[in-house]
Each structure stands twice: as C-alpha cells, then as structure tokens.
C-alpha cells in the first residue's frame, strides 16, 4: 500500500456475516483507509443460523448476540457504522452509494445485501403468518411456540425443517406443506428425499406433500388454518413461510450492475461485478466455480457468506492480486437431533447412498470420474474429509472406498 492508498474508502453494503467478514479481511490485509459498513437492519452483525436453531429451542432469556460489539467494530477495526438504513442507489460513475438521504463516496465497494424471504399467497396483514430472517421474526415465532401454537411450515427446505424440528422438540403439533413429492429431492436426489421424509415422520411431523397452499383461514385477523389445493384445512396458530428467498438487489435497478433473472448479481470467478471496483458476496452473488466446470451458483449458506465476504474485500482493494475463488460450498442443518451436512455440488451424473438413519448416512455425487459432492446425516467425522477430496478433484473410486463401499442408489 502507498501513502495515497490510505485515503481510499471501502464501502461495504450489507452488515450481516459477509459484510462483517469483508471489513475484518480489509483490516487484516493491511488496509488503513476509511471503511463504511451499511446495514438495513438496526442490529450489529449477528449469527443468523441460530435464529432457526438454538434461538427457537431456547428459553425466553436466549438472546441474539452480535459477533462483535459496537466498540470493537468502531474503535478496534475503525469501521464507520450506518445501521438501520438501506442503501437505495448506486452511482457507478460518481462512485457513490446513496443511503439515508445522503451519499457515501467509495473507491472500492462490496455488495452483500443478502436476500429477503418470499411469502406464500396473501399473507400480508394476517397475524401469525411469518417468514424467518431477522431476530424480530424469530422472536414472534418463538413467542407463538411458547404459547403452545400448532405450527404449520410452508416449504420443506432447511429453514422449514429446522422450524418443524424446534416445534417437535417442544412437543407441539407440526405440519410441513410442500409442492414437491419429497423434501430436498429436487436438489439432492430421490434417495436423500426419502431419508428426509423418514426423519420428519419419525419425529412426528405431519407431511402434506404434492400440496400447494391456496389460502389462509383467519378469525379476528389471526390465522387459524392453512387451506390446501385438495381442500384440506390444516389447523394452525402460527404459519412460517420457508419457500426460499429473493436477492435484495432492488436498490441496484438501473445502476449498471448486471443482475441475474432471479435478482442476484452476476459475478466473475473473482467476485467482481460488471462494474469496476464493485464486488459482491454472500446470498446475492452468482459465481462461476472453476472446480465445478464453471457452473454458476448463488449459494445461500453461512460458510459461503463468510468465505466470500473476506475474499470480495481483498479483491476489491487489490484487484491485481485477485484469484478465482476455490472454496467448496458447505452447509449444515440440524433436524430432530440429527446433523445434516453437505459439501460441494449436487449437480451430478450419479448419486450413491449408503448407511441407515440410525447409524449415519452418506450420499456421494459423481461427475465423470471424480467426486463433486457429499451429503451426510450424522457423520460429522467424515464430512470434511470429503470436502478435501472434492477440493483436490479426488477420484470417485477413492471416495466410494473411503465411504465404506457404496451401493448404487435406486
């Protein structure tokens, strides 16, 4: 860095995990210029995965704690915080972000504005119908569970399954509705889908599969049930929509930053957007993975936000040193006391599965003659070994042998 460098400003838009890791990495890399961190939520960066896990399971005194205190961020890292204010425009010619009625000039910018959950049907204005993204959402859902709510979750993905899991841990009735024939099957294959069905049923969660929600029943403005397309009425005191998210990029419309049709930001393999000096990370970013034959993925998981947030900041500040990202996507989820983990990609030529729910399951994903993905249930010792094999473009045969000899899935 030269003396001039110290006057450059890094602006990070989005104050969740990716944004936090971006400002930390900027300082780690020796950047001494000013940094602004803009966040739409009023909160300091906090640990979002807990909201659907420990927070829902916990007692009323369980709080959402920030990763770093205000003084750690302001004083130790020298970050200027603009929280509770959404960026509402990006002028790529003047290099400025508009926020809270003013604007902030940037030399380099990292966009990590995350995503907003989708709702189902006409949910607005109905008490008791929620999404889960923020601590306020989680507090509303937990309060309903504390009152013994009958819980209906729309969408059998990871968030929905964790909410059902929290409900069953409290011995509350839980139902999951999904248009698919089995949870996770479209992404991870029918074998994994069958395992997911088994986990839910074993725990006493009711599944309404191949069913769409057609409306909500209410009394006095509060939800009392969910109507399905076969006219079934599922009684409910609280409903959570877990049907995925939409990248929070409306503020970039017309900015010149190229967006994907799903609203995400199209990046190159170095996390650069179409605009010089502007990088993106986390839930918003579509990234081509060299390791997976340049497949484009928009990955919405914790580790992706953490790893790419740091990388995006380093690349934004020193584009000449940027290299293609080589991280292997990884996520985990906890269902009914079972640990589910996935590494790599599930876009594969073949899936092979071994094991039983009671003593651990491994599904491996093959492309050509190498392993590209691994899905496990209760195999915490194995998952990172698979991740290393995937990162090293390891052979399929070796991975199958390591897994203990797998038989082809049906």
């Amino acid at each position: 860095m030269t003396g001039d460098a110290d006057r450059r400003r890094l602006v990070v838009v989005g104050a969740s995990l990716a944004g936090l890791r971006a400002v930390e990495a900027a300082r780690d890399s020796g950047f001494t210029g000013p940094i602004t961190l803009i966040g739409a939520e009023p909160h300091l960066p906090y640990d979002r995965p807990q909201l659907s896990k420990a927070y829902l399971a916990g007692g009323a005194d369980w709080q959402v704690n920030p990763y770093k205190s205000r003084s750690q961020l302001s004083d130790e890292l020298g970050v200027e915080l603009v929280l509770g204010a959404s960026a509402d425009g990006l002028d790529v010619t003047a290099r400025r972000v508009s926020v809270a009625g003013g604007h902030i000039d940037y030399h380099a910018a990292v966009i990590a504005t995350g995503a907003q959950p989708r709702t189902v049907g006409q949910a607005n204005g109905i008490d008791g119908v929620h999404t889960l993204r923020t601590p306020e959402d989680a507090a509303n859902i937990r309060r309903a569970m504390d009152c013994g709510a009958r819980v209906v979750v729309i969408g059998a993905g990871f968030i929905g399954s964790e909410i059902a899991s929290a409900a069953r841990a409290r011995n509350l009735p839980a139902t999951i509705v999904d248009v698919a024939g089995a949870p996770l099957a479209s992404l991870f294959g029918d074998e994994v889908g069958s395992m997911a069905v088994h986990l839910h049923r074993q725990a006493g969660t009711q599944l309404q599969l191949r069913r769409a929600v057609t409306g909500y029943e209410t009394a006095g403005g509060h939800v009392t049930g969910v109507r399905l397309d076969d006219d079934t009425l599922v009684p409910a005191d609280v409903v959570v929509c877990g049907v995925g998210v939409k990248p929070a990029t409306a503020w970039l419309a017309g900015s010149g930053v190229t967006l994907h049709e799903d609203g995400g930001i199209i990046c190159d393999s170095r996390l650069a957007t179409s605009i010089p000096g502007v990088y993106a990370a986390g839930d918003v970013a579509h990234v081509p993975y060299e390791l997976f034959d340049h497949d484009h993925s928009r990955v919405e998981h914790w580790t992706n936000a953490a790893e790419h947030g740091a990388i995006a900041a380093r690349h934004a500040l020193d584009p000449g040193a940027a290299e293609p990202v080589s991280t292997v996507p990884y996520f985990w989820s906890d269902w009914y006391g079972h640990r589910i983990q996935f590494v790599g990609t599930s876009r594969a030529d073949e899936v092979r599965l071994t094991g039983r729910i009671d003593d651990g399951v491994v599904a491996l994903y093959r492309r050509a003659d190498r392993i590209v993905g691994a899905f496990t249930i209760d195999r915490p010792r194995d998952i990172m070994k698979f991740r290393r094999q995937i990162a090293a473009r390891g052979s399929w045969t070796e991975a199958v042998n390591f897994a203990g000899g797998l038989t082809p899935a049906q």
Partner: protein
C-alpha cells in the same frame, strides 16, 4: 502459544478441520479434537484462519 477449544460452544461443524486438518478433527461425537496444541511457526497463519473461521467462536489461540 496453544490452541484451546471451549466444548460448551463447539458444535463440531468442522470449519477448523477444513482449514487446518493437521490440527483439528471432528470426532464421531460431533466435537472437535485438537490433534496438536502447539502450532508450528510455519502453520500459524493457517491455524489462525481456522480459529477465526469457527461459526460458534469455540476456538482460541493463547499467546
């Protein structure tokens, strides 16, 4: 200098093992085992990155 794990926080998510497999391994019980408590000088950056990557902030390096 030694690595320390807080087992009340560790959830065995394995980020540390991914980044520094010579130092960390998650066991069948879902808790990390520290394979080598004193990092070699040459590995310090990797070990620090592994510690910083912990989603549950369960690891620290005592100077």
């Amino acid at each position: 200098m030694s690595i320390e794990a807080d087992y009340t926080l560790c959830e065995g998510l394995g980020m540390c093992e991914a980044m520094a497999p010579d130092y960390f391994e998650v066991g069948d019980d879902g808790q990390v085992e520290i394979l080598q408590k004193q990092p070699d000088a040459a590995d310090r950056t990797d070990v620090k990155a592994a510690i910083d990557s912990c989603p549950t902030l369960a690891l620290k390096l005592n100077e």
